[in-house]
Symmetry: C2
Subunit: 198 residues, 2 copies
């Protein structure tokens, strides 16, 4: 004898969310059932609100509440420098580092042969059209340091080489605070390869 | 520069859900933004549907779409046998085992001094009132095998001893399929203690 139908259905929808398995879905249902009516209403309304008000910035394809996002609109930023990332979360991470004053371009994912996602599903045409408008001095590739990020970076390098714009990739190496003896071999190899004279 | 306000708000609400941290919340927002309108509508409607249609069974305090749940209504089940569990998820787990034909009583949690939850927040009064109605031959305590489950079981044993109803606890020991050498010491101790003559 299983859960009532309405719970079964909700569990199924919740399990479609990233990172939510059957266990978490069951715990979320239990939370929703015990939560005050108002809290559930606020959650649901904020889902609708996001769905209604958020679109992709016409320029950089990052989340935005207006046609052009706040970063692209900001006159103090260096418009000749574009940092290409996989996801909006990556923009937030780099913004938090406080170390970058250019613009972004969000691909909306990475090339993944395993999951059957190729370059046509990424925001590459919009990147090329920005480049074509001119006045870009450097493009920084800031993909994840995994196989998909690597495939995406290599594809973009091939594609962008003929433009003769300066192409760079963010440094790979030992993360800040790491204890050398616990760093994995691949990271150590990248760190050695990326060594700089001091 | 952070996320747009509506996204920040949704992230905050999502992070209240059990098992959802900042990372998962950001990934869920991204999923919601990219998902077809209909899918988001179905998710939201099924949240409302559950919130509207599910209550706690008047007898066993399990989730139910009617005043008395399907298990308590089922005439083929042994009404003299009550298995006391912490959560509705535990009922599902035991039902799946196909090995129990009695009724349940769902406490809605466990005693937890650390989280400041004591016996008054559990469905114990409703358990006592079921017992008082009479005709219960055995009460099986099926708490989690952790400190909170242990505290809850001990409290119930103290409380129910005077009723002279047969009280049992589910067996503890090596889980099915486990490799002895990888089983932790506490489990092994319980398994030895719970040994049975063959």
């Amino acid at each position: 004898m299983g859960y009532p139908d309405s719970i079964k259905r909700l569990i199924q929808y919740l399990m479609k969310l990233p990172g939510v398995g059957r266990r978490s879905a069951e715990r979320i249902v239990s939370y929703i059932l015990h939560a005050p009516e108002d809290e559930v209403k606020f959650l649901v309304q904020s889902i609708y609100q996001v769905k209604r008000s958020i679109r992709l910035c016409r320029l950089c394809r990052n989340f935005s509440e207006s046609e052009i996002c706040a970063i692209c609109r900001d006159g103090r930023r260096d418009r000749t420098l574009i940092c290409v990332v996989e996801n909006p979360q990556d923009v937030m991470a780099i913004e938090k580092s406080g170390n970058f004053n250019g613009l972004y371009h969000v691909l909306g994912g990475a090339i993944s042969p395993l999951e059957g996602r190729d370059h046509r599903e990424l925001e590459i045409a919009s990147l090329l059209s920005r480049i074509k408008q001119g006045n870009i001095h450097e493009i920084i590739l800031a993909m994840d340091a995994d196989a998909e990020g690597e495939a995406t970076a290599l594809y973009l390098i091939q594609l962008l080489k003929p433009t003769h714009i300066k192409l760079t990739r963010i440094g790979m190496g030992i993360p800040s605070g790491a204890n050398l003896e616990y760093v994995d071999a691949t990271t150590l190899a990248s760190a050695l390869e990326g060594r700089r004279s001091v």
